[in-house]
């Protein structure tokens, strides 16, 4: 790897991280506006026109808030928890292709941080590490509510990881590769995986909701039972990190769903664009349109469906989705072999 490539990648990573954080910040704004819309309210409207500066005000406020570390907690673990949640959320996006290549000068800049040929597994692996942030934070707080929230969240996340993996396997059987870039390239035009894997998509989407701890599966923070769940004791930027991490996870899982099931940066008619720079911009735009669509669906579901009960949640994960995902996988295999 030469120095120029290294610099290129570093700049790209910095831009991607900045965009991710910006997206997460504006998703909080979007969520509040959407919630307001669903509940026939106005939502935030004081900071800037239509309240668009609200996320900046929120983030700024978090920096100036007092840091509370309960004296019974494990000090360093208490700090490590939100940090870990944020780091794992930020690094998941490394293997997602945001477009093909963007020509800058005489260089072709790849719009993907790392095109490794185990991309899908990388994401599943990092997601399985994501449990630690919540678990460590909830335990270190030394608060019963936090502990319950953390244990519930971790048991939920590991349960839904299984069906998520099984749903992905059906897609991999079709594509024959674990590289997300190749999976996208196989979905030219409108030849998207969702048409072949509708059941797999539904399973994956449900698991994504559960992995992000989003309603109707937000048992970890379940206000009516656990006050705020694993983050009861947190304040200042550490609380901000937990909330931010949730939005970043939502952003990345939307991007993953768009990549795996909705053709990533492909859209019919894009191959008509001859100018490579314009093409790259169009691809990024298409990708982000799909991502924002999924984010909207996430929020739509949150403000529409009531929360599950914990036993219902675990039943759905173990007794509902796992058998369904196995059936989906076997069906995919059998149908493909018959047609071959």
């Amino acid at each position: 790897m030469d120095a120029a490539l290294l610099i290129e990648k570093s700049v790209f990573v910095l831009i991607l991280t900045a965009i991710t954080l910006g997206m997460a910040a504006y998703m909080t704004y979007g969520e509040r506006k959407i919630a307001a819309f669903f509940q026939d309210r106005i939502g935030p409207d004081r900071a800037g026109p239509f309240g668009v500066l609200q996320p900046l005000a929120d983030a700024g406020k978090l920096f100036f808030k007092e840091e509370l570390i309960p004296k019974n907690s494990e000090r360093w673990m208490f700090i490590l928890g939100p940090g870990l949640a944020m780091v794992t959320a930020c690094i998941t996006s490394a293997v997602i292709p945001w477009g093909d290549t963007l020509p800058i000068g005489d260089r072709l800049v790849s719009l993907q941080v790392a095109d490794i040929n185990i991309g899908v597994l990388y994401i599943v692996g990092i997601v399985s590490i994501g449990v630690y942030g919540i678990m460590i934070g909830g335990w270190a707080s030394n608060n019963k509510y936090s502990l319950f929230g953390a244990i519930r969240a971790s048991a939920q996340m590991i349960s839904y990881e299984l069906s998520m993996g099984l749903a992905l396997i059906a897609v991999i059987m079709m594509s024959g590769t674990l590289s997300l870039k190749e999976i996208v390239e196989q979905q030219q035009g409108l030849n998207w995986n969702i048409w072949y894997q509708p059941l797999g998509f539904i399973i994956f989407f449900t698991c994504a909701l559960a992995e992000c701890n989003r309603a109707p599966f937000d048992m970890a923070e379940c206000e009516t039972e656990l006050i705020g769940g694993y983050n009861v004791e947190y304040s200042s930027m550490k609380l901000g990190f937990y909330l931010f991490a949730e939005y970043i996870n939502m952003f990345v899982s939307s991007a993953l769903m768009a990549t795996v099931y909705l053709g990533g940066y492909n859209f019919p008619g894009l191959d008509l664009i001859a100018n490579p720079t314009l093409l790259a911009v169009a691809q990024i735009a298409v990708m982000f349109a799909k991502v924002i669509f999924f984010i909207f669906v996430f929020m739509w579901i949150r403000w529409t469906l009531p929360r599950f009960r914990y036993d219902q949640l675990m039943h759905l994960g173990w007794k509902g989705l796992i058998p369904l995902a196995i059936v989906n996988m076997l069906l995919t295999g059998a149908v493909m072999l018959f047609l071959a």
Binding site: E74, M77, L80, I116, N117, I118, L121, Y122, V124, G125, S128, I129, V131, Y132, M135, I136, W139, L147, I151, S154, I158, L178
Partner: protein, 181 residues
């Protein structure tokens, strides 16, 4: 032995440091976290050897699944002052002997293998595709047998977890008996 590449040395240093912390730390939760870091650096070792599948599986199974189980157990046990670990001399002797013999075996194995330990037999053998071909060709029977092994493990887990293997009526009955006595 020829000069070792710098990434290897750095990673080995991290791995050994974390492993030492795992055994010396007083707080078991800190030990588990150090072990997770050690697993990460071992995964990086696998990447250096171009064994990508192994790297990510090591991460998923050990760092992602087994360590979660460890943390579950540790976090929910009573780790107060009352639960000090047993520190009798016989215990120390037994652990010294078993750890010593493990060290002996490992050292012997390393000596025999020589430089091969760090040399990958072929550049592509660790890729998922090739691994799958070997697993479902040459090693099909052992692979199927692991399936049977898993059932055994599940039976064990359920028996341990539910204590009495009977159905709900009998467990409820047992609880009632326990309450009345």
């Amino acid at each position: 032995m020829s000069a070792l590449p710098i990434p290897f040395l750095v990673l080995s240093f991290i791995t050994i440091l974390c492993a030492l912390y795992v055994v010396t730390s007083k707080n078991p939760v800190h030990s588990v976290l150090a072990l997770i870091v050690a697993f990460f650096s071992i995964s990086a070792h696998y990447v250096l050897l171009n064994a990508q599948f192994l790297a990510i599986v090591n991460l998923m199974v050990y760092a992602g699944a087994i360590m979660v189980l460890f943390l579950f157990v540790l976090m929910l046990l009573n780790l107060g002052k009352a639960a000090e670990p047993i520190k009798s001399n016989a215990w120390a002797l037994a652990s010294a002997i078993s750890a010593g013999s493990l060290l002996l075996i490992l050292t012997a194995a390393f000596q025999k293998s020589g430089e091969q330990v760090y040399r990958n037999p072929s550049e592509t053998v660790g890729l998922v595709k090739n691994l799958g071909k070997v697993l479902f060709g040459e090693y099909l029977i052992p692979f199927e047998l692991t399936g049977a092994l898993f059932i055994g493990a599940m039976v064990g887990a359920v028996l341990l977890g539910k204590r009495d293997s009977g159905d709900h009526e009998s467990s409820a009955l047992a609880e009632e008996k326990g309450a009345s006595s």
